[in-house]
Structure formats: structure tokens, C-alpha cells
């Protein structure tokens, strides 16, 4: 596309500057809670009560002397090392399960004709409308009857199937040209080969999206882990954060230190996934 005569590279127009300013303000607003979290994590208990201004320009926003020891206390007091490990294991197993099951199901719905496929897909989608609180008791009963109460299986297996992930991948697979798969069939490839050799490599971007969403959902989950665990053995980091809420008041400096520790893997996963998204699209075999 030719560069218009009225614009030249490097020159910021008034309109562009306005947009940039607006975006900068929006970015600051989004960053502010994280900044508050980090700042509070470095305060003493008393400072979290008496110096809790929400405005960064106010001296009360910042600690008088950073309490780096809060991170060590949060790590040891709430057994964060154990909860962190548990969260990582649970999240990775959930991600592996969701991407495997969802991609297989999505490919079948998109590319394999079988009786009742539309009805079955609609049934899958309808489960998205059922609130988690409604399925809490029946799911708990099933888990306890299977002997999975307070086990890793109870924390991961119920989440290995995701209707949303199936929907997301199914929409992507549906866009894959049938000619591509037919040509593979002519070469002797069946559905399994086509899925593994063609569909999967082309679907890196949506697969990473599914993996990232599954990771975040699993990492942030609180209600289900609290319900299906009774000991510390497999409790995740979200449960660890609740231990800083005492009856007389929250230990906010430790809660925020714990929250910073808890959010770091999610932020890291986002940046890793973002890079893969870009690469996957750049390497895509689908040309215009």
C-alpha cells in the first residue's frame, strides 16, 4: 500500500497523538491495580491499614521501607511452595487434557460426517449455559463415589473436557479447506493422519489460545479445589491465598505478596503464548 502524501513515517499527527494518549491512560488504569498489589506487598501490616492511598502520586501509596521479607513469609507461612507445585501440576495436566480432548472432538465435529453430529454438538454447546453452582453437588457426588475425593484426579479429570474449547477449535477446523484433506486422502491418509499431520500443525494459534485459557482457568480456580480437597496434599495456590484472611482482618501485605507470586506464572504464560501466536500465524500454511 502506498504511503499517502499527507503522512510520512515518524510523524505523529494530532489524531495519532490523541489516540496514543488515550491508550496510555487506559494502560495506566489497567496497570494501577497491579501496581497497588506490588506496593502493598512491600508494606508492614500497620502501613496496609494507615497508608493505603490508591493514588501513585500520594506518598501513602508507597511503603516507607520495602519489606522484601513479606515474600519469604508468604512463601513459608502459607506453604506456598507446596501449593505452587500443586497448582503447576494441576494446571499442566488440565492443559494437556483439554488440548488433546478438545482438538480431537473439534476435528470430528468439523470434518467427520456422522449421524447426529449436529445434535451432539448442540448438546455440547448447551452445557455452556449451565452455571457451575448447579453441577457442583452432582459432580462432587460422582467424585466421592469414584474415590477421587482429595486426589489429583478429582482436581483435573472433571476439567479435561471443555465445551468452549471444543467450540473454539471446531470453528477453526471448519475453516480448513476440504480440498486439503481430500488431497491427503488421495495420498492414503485417513482421519488420524490428516488430523495429526495437517489439522494440528495449522491450528497452533487456536491451540495455544485453548491451552492458555485452560491454564488460566485452572490456575485461578478456588471453589472446586476447596470443595474436593480436605487436606493440604493437593491444594492449589488460590487456597493458599485464603489463609491470609483471618477473622479479625486480612493480612493484606502477605495476601498481596502471595498474589504477586501467584500471578507471575500467568503473566509468564501469556507472554509465552503471545509469542507463539505470532509465530504460528506467520508459519501458517493457509495463503490468501
Amino acid at each position: 500500500m502506498a504511503i499517502e502524501a499527507s503522512q510520512s513515517p515518524g510523524r505523529l499527527t494530532a489524531g495519532g497523538a490523541s489516540v496514543l494518549l488515550l491508550l496510555a491512560v487506559g494502560a495506566l488504569v489497567c496497570l494501577l491495580p497491579f501496581l497497588f498489589m506490588a506496593s502493598t506487598s512491600l508494606k508492614t501490616t500497620g502501613e496496609t491499614i494507615t497508608r493505603n492511598s490508591p493514588i501513585p502520586l500520594d506518598p501513602g501509596f508507597w511503603p516507607t521501607a520495602p519489606q522484601w521479607g513479606n515474600y519469604a513469609r508468604a512463601w513459608t507461612t502459607a506453604r506456598f511452595s507446596l501449593y505452587f507445585r500443586n497448582s503447576l501440576i494441576i494446571a499442566l495436566l488440565t492443559v494437556a487434557g483439554v488440548t488433546a480432548s478438545s482438538s480431537l472432538a473439534a476435528y470430528a465435529f468439523a470434518k467427520i460426517r456422522f449421524v447426529g453430529s449436529r445434535l451432539l454438538f448442540a448438546a455440547f454447546l448447551s452445557t455452556l449455559m449451565i452455571p457451575e453452582s448447579v453441577t457442583l453437588v452432582p459432580s462432587f457426588i460422582v467424585i466421592t463415589r469414584l474415590g477421587w475425593y482429595d486426589t489429583l484426579a478429582g482436581l483435573t479429570v472433571p476439567f479435561i473436557a471443555s465445551a468452549f474449547s471444543i467450540f473454539l477449535l471446531r470453528q477453526f477446523f471448519a475453516q480448513l479447506p476440504n480440498e486439503l484433506l481430500e488431497s491427503a486422502r488421495i495420498d492414503g491418509a485417513g482421519h488420524v493422519r490428516s488430523f495429526l499431520s495437517l489439522a494440528l500443525p495449522l491450528s497452533r494459534a487456536p491451540l495455544f489460545t485453548v491451552a492458555f485459557l485452560a491454564f488460566v482457568g485452572s490456575w485461578n480456580s478456588l471453589q472446586w479445589p476447596l470443595v474436593v480437597t480436605r487436606s493440604e496434599r493437593w491444594r492449589p495456590i488460590t487456597v493458599g491465598l485464603t489463609t491470609f484472611i483471618t477473622e479479625a482482618g486480612p493480612q493484606n501485605e502477605l495476601r498481596m505478596a502471595g498474589a504477586v507470586i501467584a500471578v507471575l506464572p500467568v503473566v509468564l504464560a501469556y507472554f509465552l503464548a503471545q509469542k507463539q501466536f505470532t509465530e504460528a500465524i506467520a508459519r501458517s500454511g493457509i495463503k490468501g
Binding site: T50, V137, I141, R230, T242, A248, P250
Partner: protein
């Protein structure tokens, strides 16, 4: 879905028979394992676990109690609803009185009167050593006087007083009556200095209860058949607080615990709160450059001077779900052991809660001598007319309604209309939540 409605829906689902009623006569608890779900964390959690280990090592029936942290109160409430519906509750669980009432809507709890009064396993003469307000708080008129819980500890509502601010305006003692309180708030308030009289913390329904009982009123009928929220005492309390806000000597505190912040920064004369918050107030004051050099706790003001002020009781109890006679008895034996003066004193040292037995006082003498404010609170407790909020199923939703009505009135809403609406709403919630 609101948590309370979720709980009611879950508990009203078809249930398998999961428990047995009946007393402890002829029951042998030897070797029984008891799961105890609690909310204690940090130092309290460690202290509770140590006491559980002591019980396990010393009890002659070889009962084993397994203490398990299950999250904060609301998470335990949620988890209990699921566990009861699935037929797998723990043998012992912490529960506020209204939460226990919700469980009992589905006949899920043991009536502890059977154990308290049992000739072999009961409390016997020790029953008289408990503070009457504490031991009676779990007797629920809504369920025909069943005892749905037992107190492991308690705290009370007190007034935190910034004496430095009061003395700077010539006031030397905390107010004993609401009339004195209003005058002191006005004198302590200064636009120039940025100070004010009273911080209305989060419009907490418990504070509203304190206002009402201090005027001789109540929130509920004594026969357990409903709420009494549109009363002369409630109206007087609302008028009084609305007046203070209108004068500018009381401020609404939208964010929880910001009243502690203002107190710590020395800009407010009075706040109301639980004695369990003493250490937080101490932290707030010590960390602030402008914190009050002198601060005390005092009884909540009353309508008229009295030696026995009406004081709001705080604290969850422990309840024993219906399981098997052996497990129920084993859980009770742990509860009974925990209520003994030695254990009560030990728990008071760990948690800074009050013991529920008068005989524990000599064993906490060191705490009383070391902390004058804790000692003052203990003195208030011993002379107070202890009152408790309604233990009805669904009371958590009524508390929300009270806070909303309180806020509306402080914003200028008509008091009579608002209280009439509040009463109607509470009546409906009572009917919807009742057994």
C-alpha cells in the same frame, strides 16, 4: 446465584439418610476418628493443631481428631452444603448460629442438649461456670430450643476510643450514653484539623444491632417466630445516626477496615468493633506518625447509664452433624475437653479470644496484666448483659437488607417507609428460609 439460596436449594434436594439421632447412652467412642473443619490459619491454625494433638495423645478413648483448614467461614458454609447434600459431612464443623440453622433446616445437626445434659458424658455442675450469654447463644428458638452448636471461644463488640483526640477538646472519659456520645462527636469534629467523631464502618448490621439492644430493643421475637426490625428502638437508632451524619460529625466508611485506618491516623474519635481486632488497631496506631498516643476501649454507649450495658456477642460455634452415635459422641468429647478451663486458657493465649468459662480467669491472669485493653474488655464482659443476633436460617440475607436500609436512611431516605419495607423483606426471608 446468592450463596444462601444456593445452600437452601442444595439442602432441599432429595437426600440419602445420612445420620442418626439419639443420645450417647450405651455408645462406645473408642478408636473413633473425627474430622474437624475449621477456619483457623497462621498462628491460630498452628495453635489449634497443637491442641488437637494434645487431645489425641491424652484422651483415654483413643479418639483421633483430624483438624482440617477448609477456608474462611463462607467457604466452609458452601462446602458444608455440598457435603450434606452428598451425605458426607465432617464430624465437627465451625458454624455461625444462622449457618447452623440453615443446616438444621434439613435436620443435619445433632441437638447438643442431649450431650450437655447427659448424666455420664455431660457437663454436670460445670454448666454453671459458663458465661450465660455464651452457653445460651446456640439454643435456637426457631427449632424448638435445640442446641445446634457449642461455643469454643467468644469476643464482644466494644467502642474504640481515641483519648488523645478527646482530651485535646477537654473530654476526659469515654461517653456512657448516646446523648454524651453525640456531644463528644460534635466537640471532636473539626474541619480545620480534619477530625471527626464516629466512623460508620461499612454500615455493618452488627453495629445496628448494638444500637438497638443498647436502647432495650431486639432484632427477633423471643419465641423464634420472626424478626422485629420496625421498632421504636430501631427508629430511634436510625434517627440518631442520620442526625450525626447530617451534622457532619459521623462519616460513612465505604471500604472495610478503613475505620481502623482513620483511627490509626488519629482523625476519628470513636469506632465500634470486635475485641478480636485489638491487635489490628494496635498495629494501625503504632505504624502511623499521627496515631493517638492514648487510646482505650469502652462499652458501647447505652440509652441511660448502667452497670450492665447490653453488649453484642461475636463468635462462631462448633456444630456436630449427624453421622453415627460413636462419631457424634467422640466429637462431643473433644468439644467438652476443649471447653475445660485449662484448654480455654491455652486457646485464649493463642487466639486472644475470650474463654467461655469463668474458671479460666486465673489462668489468663498474665494476659490481663500484660494488656490493659484486653483486661478492660474482660471486665466489660463480666458485667455486660450479653446479647446475640438472631440465629435464624437466612439471617445472612437479612443482614444485607439491614445494611441497605441503613444506607438508604443515612442518604436521606424516609425512616418509617424504609423500616416498614425492611420488616416486610425480613418477614419474607424468614418464611422462605424457615424449616
Amino acid at each position: 446465584m446468592r450463596m444462601h439460596m444456593l445452600v437452601c436449594v442444595l439442602l432441599e434436594a432429595p437426600l440419602a439418610v445420612f445420620g442418626q439421632s439419639g443420645g450417647p447412652a450405651g455408645v462406645d467412642p473408642t478408636g473413633t476418628v473425627v474430622s474437624y473443619w475449621y477456619q483457623h490459619t497462621g498462628g491460630n491454625g498452628d495453635g489449634m493443631q497443637k491442641m488437637i494433638d494434645d487431645f489425641n495423645a491424652s484422651n483415654r478413648w483413643k479418639i483421633t481428631v483430624k483438624g482440617e483448614y477448609q477456608g474462611p467461614y463462607d467457604q466452609i458454609y458452601n462446602k458444608m452444603a455440598v457435603a450434606i447434600a452428598a451425605g458426607s459431612p465432617p464430624e465437627l464443623v465451625v458454624a455461625y448460629q444462622n449457618q447452623a440453622a440453615t443446616y438444621e433446616v434439613n435436620d443435619a445437626l445433632t441437638d447438643l442438649n442431649v450431650y450437655v445434659k447427659d448424666p455420664a458424658w455431660g457437663l454436670g455442675k460445670d454448666l454453671g461456670d459458663f458465661f450465660p450469654g455464651f452457653i445460651n447463644q446456640d439454643v435456637n428458638a426457631q427449632f424448638g430450643g435445640k442446641r445446634l452448636g457449642f461455643p469454643p471461644n467468644r469476643s464482644i463488640e466494644v467502642m474504640y476510643v481515641n483519648m488523645s483526640l478527646l482530651k485535646s477538646v477537654g473530654i476526659t472519659v469515654p461517653p456512657r450514653t448516646w446523648a454524651e456520645f453525640a456531644l463528644d462527636c460534635a466537640r471532636a469534629s473539626s474541619r480545620t484539623n480534619g477530625t471527626y467523631g464516629y466512623a460508620l464502618d461499612n454500615l455493618d448490621a452488627s453495629h445496628v444491632y448494638a444500637f438497638v439492644i443498647s436502647r432495650g430493643g431486639e432484632f427477633a421475637r423471643a419465641d423464634g417466630r420472626g424478626y422485629t426490625l420496625n421498632t421504636p428502638q430501631m427508629k430511634a437508632a436510625m434517627q440518631f445516626m442520620a442526625g450525626l451524619v447530617k451534622q457532619g460529625v459521623a462519616r460513612k466508611i465505604p471500604k472495610k477496615y478503613d475505620d481502623q485506618t482513620d483511627f490509626g491516623n488519629g482523625i476519628v474519635a470513636f469506632t465500634l468493633g470486635s475485641t478480636s481486632g485489638l491487635s489490628f488497631y494496635a498495629n494501625a496506631v503504632s505504624s502511623s506518625r499521627n496515631g493517638p498516643a492514648e487510646w482505650v476501649i469502652a462499652p458501647v454507649p447505652q440509652q441511660a447509664p448502667t452497670a450492665n450495658p447490653a453488649i453484642d456477642l461475636y463468635g462462631a460455634s462448633v456444630s456436630i452433624p449427624k453421622t453415627t452415635p460413636q462419631k457424634q459422641l467422640a466429637a462431643w468429647l473433644f468439644v467438652r475437653w476443649f471447653s475445660e478451663p485449662r484448654q480455654q486458657a491455652q486457646w485464649a493465649h493463642v487466639s486472644k479470644y475470650f474463654p467461655v468459662r469463668k474458671a479460666a480467669e486465673p489462668l489468663i491472669r498474665d494476659m490481663l496484666d500484660a494488656d490493659p485493653r484486653f483486661s478492660a474488655a474482660w471486665s466489660i464482659l463480666k458485667t455486660a448483659n450479653l446479647k446475640a443476633e438472631p440465629p435464624f436460617a437466612g439471617y445472612d440475607l437479612v443482614r444485607d437488607a439491614i445494611t441497605a436500609a441503613y444506607s438508604r436512611i443515612l442518604d436521606g431516605g424516609d425512616i418509617d417507609t424504609t423500616l416498614a419495607g425492611l420488616q416486610a423483606q425480613a418477614d419474607k426471608l424468614f418464611r422462605d428460609s424457615a424449616p
